[in-house]
Subunit: 76 residues, 2 copies
C-alpha cells in the first residue's frame, strides 16, 4: 500500500525558501506572483495493513516538525 | 487564484533523502517501510487570469529541474 504525506509550514511561519522562489520568478520576468509557499511531499510504500495511525505516528516522530509544520495524510 | 505544483524525482533517479528517511523510520522502530520518495509542493498565489501555460513555463524555467524531476500542476 502507499501513503502520501503533505507537509507545509504553518500559516504565519516565515518561509524564506518561498520568498526566494518568488523573487527568482520576478527576476525571470513572471509578473503577478503574489505569494509562494514551499513544502514537502513524502511518498511511502508500506507493507499491507499499515494503519493511518502508524503513518500519523511517523509524521509526529520524524516526517514533520509539528512545532512549525502541519501535515496531511493520504492513503493511496 | 492559486496553483499547486508537485515536483518529484523521476523514477530511476536515486533519492538519497528518501533513503535516509527510510533508514530513520526503521531506527525509530517502524517496520514495513519498503520505499520512501520525497518531493516538493509549491503553492503559488497568482494574479487572476494567470494561465496554466505560464505556470508550466515557471516549472520549466525554475521550479523543477526537468532533467531529473517531473512536475504536475493543479490550478485550485
Amino acid at each position: 500500500m502507499k501513503a502520501r504525506v503533505h507537509v507545509m509550514l504553518k500559516n504565519g511561519v516565515l518561509d524564506p525558501q518561498g520568498a526566494a522562489v518568488r523573487r527568482a520568478l520576478g527576476t525571470l520576468g513572471f509578473e503577478g506572483v503574489e505569494k509562494v509557499r514551499q513544502g514537502k511531499i513524502i511518498e511511502l510504500d508500506l507493507a499491507d495493513g499499515t494503519t493511518e495511525d502508524t503513518v500519523k505516528d511517523m509524521c509526529e516522530k520524524l516526517l514533520a516538525n509539528t512545532v512549525i509544520e502541519s501535515y496531511s495524510i493520504e492513503l493511496v
